[in-house]
Symmetry: C2
Subunit: 366 residues, 2 copies
């Protein structure tokens, strides 16, 4: 299996409103990468476009807009983990030898059709993801004694971290009282427990080891990828969620491939679309024992969501996984400026879709 | 690079109307493959869903409907070559070692949004693919003396071949007069020069060499994959279409990877969405010299479109590339019954998108 490196990364500012098309938005970070000329634009052999919009042929259209002529183009959708699924496809194309370099671009507008889970009849009328967050939160509170304050603390932490991220949608601190006093949407989930849909784009450039060794930039290696789709409906996701959730299975695959343990991870981006999801992720990833996710959030020794996570940065669906990867690459290259967390060289990305029915875990090393 | 084999295949009957959803349609051939139990359903590690519908998360949804729990799921779209792009992604996932087996499923309803090329402002109001077929036909007639009769002969041939394909949409012969007398849609393209959009699905099962060697079925190896996206707009596709079209470049890559020449190919599925496209393909693939595609159609020695091609079988956009692969696998395993063309062991699939702005070539060997 040939090694694959990430050699450049860029994200737009995440924002609520934009007058750009999903293509124009995608071109922002992709052009930033092309302008840095780490490899010439005419040597880019693939463009994978991650998005949940209704736009078709986006890989080819973005290629034309960017002025590149890749061998491989396509659009990839797997809802909220589309970005890391596209990353794993790009990894595979390069590792298999079908091509040597791929630009992965994720872009989404705030009103994306990906925000509604309309196919899932087991949700009844409850097509919004908040309903499953409510079910999981209630289960976790009942089983393990997790409190609304524990969840609120995650929002406070991640909003506070986002202040140091110039591309984050939110840049003001909030207090625990702010979270607890915010509008209750679905028991026990309050407005400030929720990540906010937004518009944004992110891009990474992947190359083969042979190319990476010739470049004058620090490569960040994709050491492990774990993926798991357990089901698509929340009704199927509920029974085994704490024991055999997709995150847990995907993490097992990723640790095995990268030959690391949870304790080797120094910095992680966690899919905190709702506060309860970060608590559950700590347990799924083996950072904390089952039921101890909430206390891990206070005293864990892995730097988590330095860019502010989804709660602080916003959630442009098809771009989120790629933005998470950008942040870990940035941290592992020690380029994060005021939000740099130590001199980490092993990091992890945790990216979920639709009630955690599907998960991707990526392990990166500089 | 690890070898990858196709070990099972199935298609639905292609038809104009269906009351099924795109998911239900996709499950038809996929269930046929699962029922044959070549590998147990719980060992299937990926499901890639090729479609241009507006449905999201189709890889996970189809997995749940089929009762499988793969590591990797996603939906892939690249318009009319989505199917072979999904095949190449599946190849890469297995060849790179990320997984050992993938079900690739393509499904489309006749009213798919993929039938309109609405992003391409260079087309003006001409969002239907027929307008570019018209431009290419006029260019080929002017440059090389190709005639309306030459194009009509392709339709006669492929409709005639479709009679032996029980899954084809059309099963009656037509005469050259029928084609020439059919309604002229856009000069010089007539109704019977056009492939018909339809509903349909197709599926193939890919496995690693290690698994293929343990199975009691004849593997068909993916020996070569070539891909090229030149642009997305017809205005960009026109200038170099006869010299540097995406098909020509993709074919070069595929022949090189498979270490074969055009003369080694014994059977081919050609993307004949319009009659002129089959003539141009013969030249792009090196079967005929430039300008000689029309005469090759009469006296070429490679068996072309034995299932009836798109003109005879119909065009369920995201399923077409996979249906083409199914036919070549069927031919290379000598399982085609009355439409078997000799005892071929090397075959080729040619699959285009959007005015040939993107192309995939796959070379298979039994």
């Amino acid at each position: 299996m040939n090694k694959v490196a990430i050699v450049d990364y860029a994200t737009t500012k995440f924002r609520k409103l934009t007058d750009k098309s999903v293509y124009e938005l995608a071109c922002e970070p992709a052009m930033e990468i092309l302008r840095s000329s780490i490899i010439p634009a005419n040597k880019i052999e693939g463009l994978l476009f991650s998005s949940c919009s209704n736009d078709l042929y986006t890989g080819a259209i973005a290629s034309e807009m960017l002025g590149i002529n890749p061998k491989i183009t396509c659009r990839i959708d797997n809802l909220c983990n589309s970005g890391t699924v596209a990353l794993s496809a790009a990894y595979s194309y390069i590792s298999s030898g079908l091509c040597d370099s791929i630009l992965v671009v994720g872009a989404e507008l705030r009103n994306s059709p990906g925000s509604k889970l309309i196919w899932d009849v087991s949700r009844g009328q409850f097509t919004s993801p908040i309903y499953w967050a409510s079910v999981f939160a209630k289960m976790h509170m009942r089983e393990y004694g997790t409190t609304e304050e524990d969840m609120g603390a995650i929002a406070v932490k991640n909003r506070s971290l986002a202040i140091n991220n110039p591309n984050a949608m939110f840049n003001k601190p909030i207090s625990l009282e702010d979270v607890l006093d915010s509008r209750k949407l679905v028991e026990p989930i309050k407005l400030l427990d929720c990540g906010a849909l937004c518009s944004g784009a992110a891009s990474v450039l992947l190359v083969s080891e042979d190319i990476a060794r010739t470049l004058d930039v620090q490569p960040v290696w994709i050491d492990g990828i774990g993926q798991q789709t357990n089901c698509a409906s929340v009704a199927h996701a509920i029974p085994g969620v704490f024991k055999n959730g997709s995150s847990k299975l995907a993490a097992t695959h990723a640790y095995e491939m990268a030959k690391v343990n949870p304790s080797d991870i120094q910095v992680a981006e966690i899919h905190d679309a709702f506060t309860i999801m970060e608590i559950m992720a700590f347990e799924d990833l083996g950072f904390a024992r089952t039921g101890k996710g909430a206390s891990y959030a206070l005293d864990g020794d892995i730097a988590v969501n330095p860019r502010g996570g989804i709660l602080g940065s916003g959630h442009p669906i098809g771009a989120t996984g790629i933005a998470q990867v950008c942040e870990i690459v940035c941290q592992l290259r020690h380029e994060a400026g005021i939000r740099q967390v130590g001199s980490s060289n092993v990091g992890l990305v945790h990216n979920l879709a639709a009630a955690g029915t599907s998960a991707t875990i990526v392990i990166l090393r500089s």
